[in-house]
Point group: C2
């Protein structure tokens, strides 16, 4: 059982807090908005109204004892987000995760001490943009700059064939991880003699260059 | 080349617009905030200041001609988000994606016509919460209620062994999709005689029940 400090209880922050609470960890959620504190006081075991840019107040929290500190103050209060990150870093936070809206804000947060910066709206915006851009792509997750996991509607050329005949792994180093049929049943790992059918949805992994060659993605 | 209508150019909306623009599609971005329109007028081919809750104005856009309409008005203007969705549905939008902050808002948006609802901050908050909750889990993506793809630090019991010896697929129906070594190089598919080493990061897929049995996840 670990303990976590969540600074800023917007949508992102409260969902980190809820998830950790559900997993049985101890959570201290802080926010300087009284209404927000009232709203979540029954849900999160410890909530406290405080201004996270107040160095003295932060001293009372025992920052180094938390497994991690999550700064989830949004762009509306960008200076608060930056100052709070700087302060908890100074006070010895073991691990800092900060939420940012723009790349620029993210760079500043890293400079002042954030170990990890997340971009919830930017990430989701890109995933949706990519899925909309292709008529077959459903979802797309970057594992690294070169490798992605994608979910897509079974391409025309695969219909009626099985993995042995298609030989995707040898030809393109693309691996089908799972197949979801039209009723939503997921088969993983897929069997090599299964013949692909219309309405199958595939989850597969491969290098972006190879995925482009196969027209699975176009970006 | 397709065309898309993005209503509301907050962080989520602008990133959908940018991603589609990069992929070569035609984008019309609308917002009723003049500053926002000015800010993005050079970046997105078509931007227009308008109130998306004004039915007559929406009539001038040719809503049914867009491949999809994305409603990315946030919780701050929740009634606008709901009314804009209702209106574009009435005007024959082919496909509507709407952003929501809470489950409740998401349900209402579905009722008034959204085909897909996304929760950027909630999703990311849960992913971060889950990664923080486990000392080995790095990332976690739900493919369905029963199946997840997870990224985790190589567990103790796998060190020095290879996939043939571990037999994870036969025993637990868990498939290792890729292995990232400490220099960030990704090997996919992993070779079956590779002996797992400290600092390896694994991406694997399996049923949540099995992942729990292996203590890969604890939720
Ligand atoms: N100095 C501060 N100390 C503590 N909490 C703060 C401070 N400044 C802002 N906050 C809180 O941070 C929370 C999140 O900020 P805001 O609502 O701007 O972010 P957001 O980007 O809309 O968040 P989300 O997208 O996660 O909903 C707010 O509840 C706000 O009260
Ligand atoms: N009736 C409307 N017509 C057009 N645009 C609108 C309307 N109401 C709100 N908007 C715009 O929607 C945009 C996004 O709304 P808001 O900033 O509340 O969302 P948000 O949740 O903070 O967004 P994000 O998290 O994506 O940054 C704003 O730029 C706002 O001007």
């Amino acid at each position: 059982k670990k303990s976590f400090l969540i600074i800023g209880l917007g949508r992102f922050g409260i969902n980190v807090a809820r998830t950790l609470t559900k997993a049985g960890h101890s959570v201290l959620g802080v926010d300087n908005d009284e209404d927000i504190i009232q709203k979540f006081s029954f849900e999160i075991d410890n909530v406290m109204k405080l201004d996270a840019t107040d160095s003295d107040v932060l001293d009372t929290l025992g920052v180094p004892e938390f497994e991690a500190v999550v700064i989830s103050i949004g762009e509306k209060y960008i200076q608060n987000s930056i100052l709070a990150t700087l302060l908890v870093k100074e006070k010895g936070a073991k691990h800092i995760i900060a939420k940012a809206g723009t790349k620029v804000q993210g760079k500043v947060l890293e400079k002042v001490g954030a170990d990890t910066v997340v971009f919830p709206e930017k990430d989701m915006g890109q995933r949706i943009g990519k899925a909309l851009s292709s008529s077959t792509l459903i979802d797309y997750i970057e594992l690294s700059k070169e490798v992605s996991i994608i979910e897509l509607k079974v391409p025309q050329f695969m219909l009626g064939k099985n993995l042995i005949e298609l030989n995707l792994r040898k030809k393109y180093a693309v691996t089908i991880i799972s197949i979801k049929d039209k009723d939503g049943n997921i088969k993983t790992p897929p069997s090599v003699d299964y013949k692909f059918t219309e309405f199958d949805v595939l989850t597969l992994i491969g290098e972006n260059e190879q995925l482009k060659k196969l027209h699975f993605i176009d970006f």
